[in-house]
Symmetry: C2
Subunit: 543 residues, 2 copies
Amino acid sequence: MAIDISSLFAKAGALLASDHTSVVSMNLFVALLCACIVIGHLLEENRWINESITALAIGLCTGIVILLTTGGKSSHLLVFSEELFFIYLLPPIIFNAGFQVKKKQFFHNFMTIVLFGAVGTLISFIIISLGAMQFFKKMNIGPLTIGDYLAIGAIFSATDSVCTLQVLNQDETPLLYSLVFGEGVVNDATSVVLFNAIQSFDLSHINSGIALQLVGNFLYLFISSTMLGVLAGLLSAYIIKKLYFGRHSTDREVALMILMAYFSYMLAELFYLSGILTVFFCGIVMSHYTWHNVTESSRVTTKHAFATLSFVAEIFIFLYVGMDALDIEKWRVVSDSLGKSVGVSAVLLGLILLGRAAFVFPLSFLSNLTKKSSYEKVDWKQQVTIWWAGLMRGAVSMALAYNQFTSSGGFTQLRENALMITSTITVVLFSTVAFGLMTKPLVRILLPSSKQLTRMISSEPSSPKSLILPFLNNETESETSQQGNTSIPRPTSLRMLLSAPSHTVHYYWRKFDNAFMRPVFGGRGFTPFVPGSPTERTEHQWQ
Amino acid sequence: MAIDISSLFAKAGALLASDHTSVVSMNLFVALLCACIVIGHLLEENRWINESITALAIGLCTGIVILLTTGGKSSHLLVFSEELFFIYLLPPIIFNAGFQVKKKQFFHNFMTIVLFGAVGTLISFIIISLGAMQFFKKMNIGPLTIGDYLAIGAIFSATDSVCTLQVLNQDETPLLYSLVFGEGVVNDATSVVLFNAIQSFDLSHINSGIALQLVGNFLYLFISSTMLGVLAGLLSAYIIKKLYFGRHSTDREVALMILMAYFSYMLAELFYLSGILTVFFCGIVMSHYTWHNVTESSRVTTKHAFATLSFVAEIFIFLYVGMDALDIEKWRVVSDSLGKSVGVSAVLLGLILLGRAAFVFPLSFLSNLTKKSSYEKVDWKQQVTIWWAGLMRGAVSMALAYNQFTSSGGFTQLRENALMITSTITVVLFSTVAFGLMTKPLVRILLPSSKQLTRMISSEPSSPKSLILPFLNNETESETSQQGNTSIPRPTSLRMLLSAPSHTVHYYWRKFDNAFMRPVFGGRGFTPFVPGSPTERTEHQWQ
């Protein structure tokens, strides 16, 4: 690669010669992305492989090729960049997840999700931090501070919500999907709070005051991030409803939705909130209100454009992690202590398994106590699946590890820091590949009821994501119940009757939604229809 | 702004503190983009303003605010970046233009377009270079080399195709649109060749050998760029047709189309070709073949997603140019010679007017000689409009000027270079605002036949771009003629009968297309339809 670059540089008459390094790497990257999509499509019906693993494998192969062609020199083109990840790649993935999530299912399990995401992450954090402290001191790794140990706890408590999305399917296992994915979103907020707290608070003497401060900080972060996302979503709905009524323009509507969503994320980052929580709730609100205020072609476009953006960003991340993993510079520093590096990775993987088990099973038990219906309880097979599906560590862990263990700017030469970086890479690769590979078969073995459905769906030759049509399913369902009886939602099943408490909340929310929210912000059934308006015309054009 | 940034930096406990400068500027930028879209929508029915001018004005206002809040300090957040422009903003705009262009109209006028774009740009380049040499020596500007003068010629011969797209309307004035826009695309290639040639060839002794080399270079660039774009488009069509048949996935299809288009652009940049020509022809081929191989929802999504990307990129560019214009550092160097700066800008504007007049009128006359039908001739009113609509200078000029007149990396302190940069900015702002403002009214006065149509269209409250549905119109039209008589295209009008030569080319092309191209690469009417395939199902879901 480097040979190519230098020969290209030597060429005379180059406009923009200074950009040519980035042009070469972008060419490589775009070509690899195309390859991932095509190969991922070909391997689709394979029951083990998913797109993340394909991308990781292609990334690793490319890394090897680069390593060989450059003769073992490091290639700085391919070093993992926190900024790229947090500012460009993560927002579309999380926004799309919020936009396409089954809202009913999500809010139905809201308490369990928060319990898993907040309390669970804290338990996992404590276990991993204490365990690392115990083991690493014995292994004589180097002078890690108490802050480093706590950071390790936070880094390895951050589950990979991107990978979870790929492994579980919203249509096959809706309950598990909403629990594991919802947990992942809250988990991210918790990890970021913990990580921030570790970097800013004086941790040498922890007392109850600081603990309270931490709890307050978390609550502030959670509530303000959510509110910001909801406000941004409502603002977009209001603007599009008021300004665009009767004179729709698909391009402007789509542009405004994308920009407002991105703005909410960046605003959250600006105020040191959790951008992930913000953009997730912004996505939910946009799919509930804004999406119903736009033209039919805007709806199709946004639905698929967001899914595509998210899809490309996911592949990008895994490709990136795969390529970065072989960056030789990091491995050179730890090459004399390879055994120690393997040991550290093994200990961390063990702690991750233990830390997750330590909260999934007790908290599921607690959650089951509050449910009356056996339909709603999380049985042990589902508990094992939840435990397993959340074991993967991904780009968030990588980004936090880089933040903690590299000195500002360049790569640190300190041996213990290099060791932690390489161990993080090992854990991320191993957990994504090994745990990821086994999740699909595990889900099929443990939850045979979903096996039939899986077969049925995989006989429809389409990607899992394009099959997820949450709005249509969701809206049709709620529309039926609404049309049946407008004042009191009709209990469509025994399950709905039995789940009285959350049903009540849902009933009052819908009442409020219909009386106040929808008339102001639009939403299904509340967008005035003008015969012969451009809306209608656009629809006809596509029929 | 700077106060905000520093206070934010001071905040403790910042995750990703190093990225915060970019977070702040991105917030500002995204907010301004939203504002531009909303304000542009509100001002839509105004007959003078267009979206570019709105964005320029908002950019200028923001620049003033930044200047005032920082107390006159330069803000390096907002310096124009060539890389950002050429790698991220320009490709989607040009690709979308190719994707949405009326192919029949474009190829019908192909020879005229190439004549205007290649020969015309050369004439304009010579006039501006010679004129600048004459005037600037008298004005005692500083030690500019012959290379600098020729670069000035190339810089100010590059018309702004982005702005042209906004001012002319494909449905109102199809002939003018295809002439002016097509010219703009070819013009870009010519300008880049000229600029490269100036930077690489030894210009002190120009002889016929070098001149021939330049011509050869241009032909090589034009043909290879076009071929690359066509090949990339055909490859995407082939991949999607072969791999995706019967198992469509909207997300993968859309992602593949976007990535392949971008890949073609980057590949062209890698081989020092004209990425703009490449991506333009890639867009044309994709809309002719690939677009017909995908699902109905992919079609809606790609059409609007590409238009939206292009729309946002356009606004971004004008906002950027507006904000960058007030960067104080550049102006400080020339502040003692403000009169000279105004003089230089005025001379350049005069030369632009003259240089364009010098080729539009003679070449139109030549072009008219080859046409038999009076329908096809470009009358003098249209000639004036073509002359006027191509006077705007934009981001390409800015990028080339920065490339020539700033030393690598930072801003040069040389007075004559600073003078050229500020003059370029002045010319770009003035031509975009003054000429841009007057184009719409001019078109209405000169071409009253389109006035009615304009009124009719502007009563339909939608952006010009979302109204352009070239495929539908175009395809329906050609379908009718095709269904009428499959072996010999039916002459639908007197005009078509008279335009025999280009008609013949079109006839043989269609025969070849139907016999060889479409069976291999797909395209309208050649995508096998399987009842009950996901394609059909997806369509029904959206109906």
